[in-house]
Subunit: 152 residues, 2 copies
DNA sequence: GAAAGTAGTTAGCTACGCTAATTATCGTAT
DNA sequence: ATACGATAATTAGCGTAGCTAACTACTTTC
């Protein structure tokens, strides 16, 4: 690959943006971490629950892949969520090895509350911005999501 | 402060941006997590090291505050970093209770490599964007950092 | 129906987070 | 000068989260 080379200016720009975006995302999320303690749910459990709520029922292996952890780790996360009645499992009628995880009503409610708290905290911090700045951020989120999808 | 502006339109916009920004930041960082395994350093240790490298020597308590963990947790993080010769402590000459942590040359090098890997991965994903889009992202990072500073 | 493959669990380890209690030092007030 | 309260850090002990290796229980394939 001929290192597609645009100008050195562009190279600098991409680099600069990558660097700053990286830092900004870290700092932004760090500031919201505080809100999570109120839910009584740990971050990994919250994250699993959010997959089940937003993407629907999933097998243990699918969840492990989605969360980028190994299956034994997911086994225990699910066990914890089950004990708190936030998730239920349902056996697959055609394949005796697998069972599908479902968020319970309680689990869904807990997740949505926690998420709302985080978003509310972020919202509060954005309140000082002008409509024009908010628009910039809005377009930036679009670009960020596109970058996530982009080929590694 | 008189709770300025509360039109439904603006309310909707802030809310929308908060929601999307929250998700986008999570997704963006999740995609970069893979790169970290190569450093041999765990995320919490990497983070502590980055404070020392970019903000300079700090006491254990200051580090704990910066990383939002309790002091005993920081004690062990530092012990781990010390064992790998990534951090050294230096006694405070005036106060016998405290010692200041310094990143060693090895620690600084390791951190910068790890960070470079993450940024390079992000950079690769941003390469498809136009200069105009990059500019939008650049301005957005500015706004994000400002939001982080904003009063909770 | 035996062998190979797949989904999930168990066992056992390290790391990270916490609180409570302890040690050592500092500052201050008597 | 000493004694007392405050502060910095560590130790002890607990639960959760991550891993690998080894196991069980099914499915698929030949």
């Amino acid at each position: 690959m001929p290192k597609s080379r645009a100008s050195p200016e562009r190279s600098t720009q991409v680099d600069r943006v990558a660097n700053r975006l990286h830092s900004a995302a870290i700092h932004l999320l760090r500031g919201l971490r505080v809100e999570d303690t109120l839910s009584g749910l740990t971050a990994p459990r919250m994250s699993v629950l959010s997959v089940l709520v937003f993407a629907g029922p999933r097998t243990l292996g699918e969840l492990a892949a989605a969360e980028q952890v190994r299956r034994p780790t997911m086994t225990r996360l699910i066990q914890g969520l089950e004990k708190d009645s936030l998730v239920r499992r349902q056996a697959d009628p055609t394949d005796g090895r697998v069972s599908r995880m479902h968020a319970t009503a309680k689990g869904r409610a807990l997740l949505l509350e926690g998420r709302a708290r985080r978003v509310a905290a972020l919202r509060k911090r954005l309140e000082g911005l002008s409509p024009r700045d908010l628009d910039t951020l809005d377009r930036a989120t679009e670009l960020m999501e596109r970058a996530v999808q982009a080929p590694a």
